[in-house]
Symmetry: C2
Subunit: 304 residues, 2 copies
């Protein structure tokens, strides 16, 4: 079982009301790849520039992550993001985004990678997402994500990407915008009509909701007493979700619910440190322990 | 079993992006009393003015709600609130608040009401909340709520009221402010240290979290496709919670979890109409059906 992860590998400058960190390994594909690697073998497809620090590349090496697709673009600059979180850590301002090598990058699949059984295509040009999905086996499990920028500039393209994917994961505010309704439940259903097999609406610290034709499931956020840096939580969720699904014998509604809780679990670790620092030392045993605690958070007996 | 409910009975003018309603029966005590009355006998302690419409008073009559404490203040004006919700229906602007008869009102318990086995004291002057709790039997189940105004102007008083109560219910943003931390989990724990037996942090459409010395429980929001008017959801939650607890033989951790789901269930009905219109025609059978659906929303098997 192998999961293809594509998106940004970047260098971040992150400020919270309590601390700050510069030159942190970041990007959607970084968090998603490290999360998925807890469950399955990963292939990382992303572009970096000549300035990409060697220590950041080495950070991936202890994990089952194939770096043949981590492409260094000659003369290019690594993407950078500088953000500042507000007091509640739920909202943030982007102070600067440097697209760098991701500006118009058309990734090429390394030889053999078109066999990947699962794929998470983080926010990028929806045409690229569609093209990559066309290269994968029809039976592969695919998930796409996006950001407001692509909803505003490439809405039709993303709707097409979504209809070609098994799952879409999307932030609450973006789901409302894309579906044109303030109701999360209705937004989920409207996006389903677009053709995705299942819609995951990410609710930030409040967890995630999953909507499919036959199911509605809600996983709460894990009650962390200290959030260090929320960056990458949604991507860690997506990576944990797809990585777990890639590891099971059959994708059933029951396994999908478990995958959502595994995704939420990994996301709750992601925010415990700046950038991917917590995922870099996270064990599967820790994941399993918190996964079991999750059930205790929401379980109740209906009667008796 | 009898539950005392005190707070505002008011007349509201509500605007959402989709509709508006004027002269609607409103106020924290209205929603809480109607919610509690689904489970137990209610005593409603609140002040209205001479202008309080007779049809609004009659709205309570079909329910097991004793109106002996619904006090008409001679020459007084009924409290009024005018609010406008933003697109996501999660946030709102208060356009006008008329305190009217609630400005400095010191409620007097009607004869015999000091026997109430349970009480919800919605947001009001914390001195009033403390005084009312002193009048109740030591074994009564009490819950207090508050708003930002009292945290800002009577913080110490509310902390005292909280320490005298079995439960406190409080909005997420107010919990963060009162506890001085952005973490909901940590805010819950800090407020517990103040002496309440259990802290309920209301998460709006994302449900509610319950924190006690030995428990942490999260109930998601019910996935409504159409929210008409979010006003009073938190009070309906509180009324359903306390009314259910008043109806059980013993307040155990298991019953508290159920009470939170019952509270969430009633709150999900409250928002389906303007003001209390949905609660006015809600049956216990409808509550039970949605209560069972709630479990399906969050349940998953850990293994196998």
């Amino acid at each position: 079982m192998t999961t293809l992860i594509t998106g940004w590998v970047a260098v971040d400058h992150i400020e919270t009301p309590f601390a700050a960190a510069e030159d942190v390994l970041g990007g959607s594909a970084t968090a998603a790849a490290l999360a998925a690697a807890l469950f399955t073998d990963v292939r990382l497809l992303a572009a970096v520039g000549e300035d990409f620090p060697d220590e950041h590349r080495r950070a991936f090496e202890p994990f089952p992550i194939d770096l043949a697709g981590l492409t260094m673009v000659k003369g290019g600059k690594t993407s950078r993001w500088h953000g500042r979180y507000h007091y509640d850590l739920n909202s943030r301002d982007t102070l600067e985004t440097v697209l760098g090598v991701n500006d118009g990058w058309a990734p090429e699949l390394p030889a053999g990678w078109e066999t990947s059984e699962a794929a998470f295509l983080a926010a990028t040009d929806p045409e690229v997402q569609q093209e990559l999905m066309r290269r994968l086996p029809p039976a592969s499990i695919t998930m796409v994500d996006t950001i407001k920028f692509y909803i505003d500039t490439a809405r039709e393209g993303f709707l097409k990407a979504m209809s070609a994917a098994n799952f879409v994961s999307i932030n609450e505010s973006e789901a409302r915008e894309l579906a044109g309704t303030p109701s999360i439940a209705r937004a989920g259903r409207k996006l389903l009509e677009g053709g995705a097999g299942g819609v995951i609406v990410k609710l930030g610290e409040f967890g995630a909701a999953f909507v499919s034709a036959n199911d509605y499931f809600v996983a709460p956020g894990y009650p962390l007493e200290e959030v260090v840096d929320p960056t990458g939580a949604g991507d860690a969720f997506a990576g944990g979700f797809i990585g777990y699904l890639d590891s099971v014998a059959e994708v059933t509604p029951r396994e999908i619910r478990r995958a959502i809780v595994y995704g939420s679990t990994v996301a709750s670790f992601q925010v415990e440190g700046f950038g991917p620092s917590r995922l870099l030392r996270l064990t599967r045993e820790e994941v399993e322990e918190r996964y079991r605690q999750f059930r205790g958070l929401t379980h109740y007996e209906v009667d008796g």
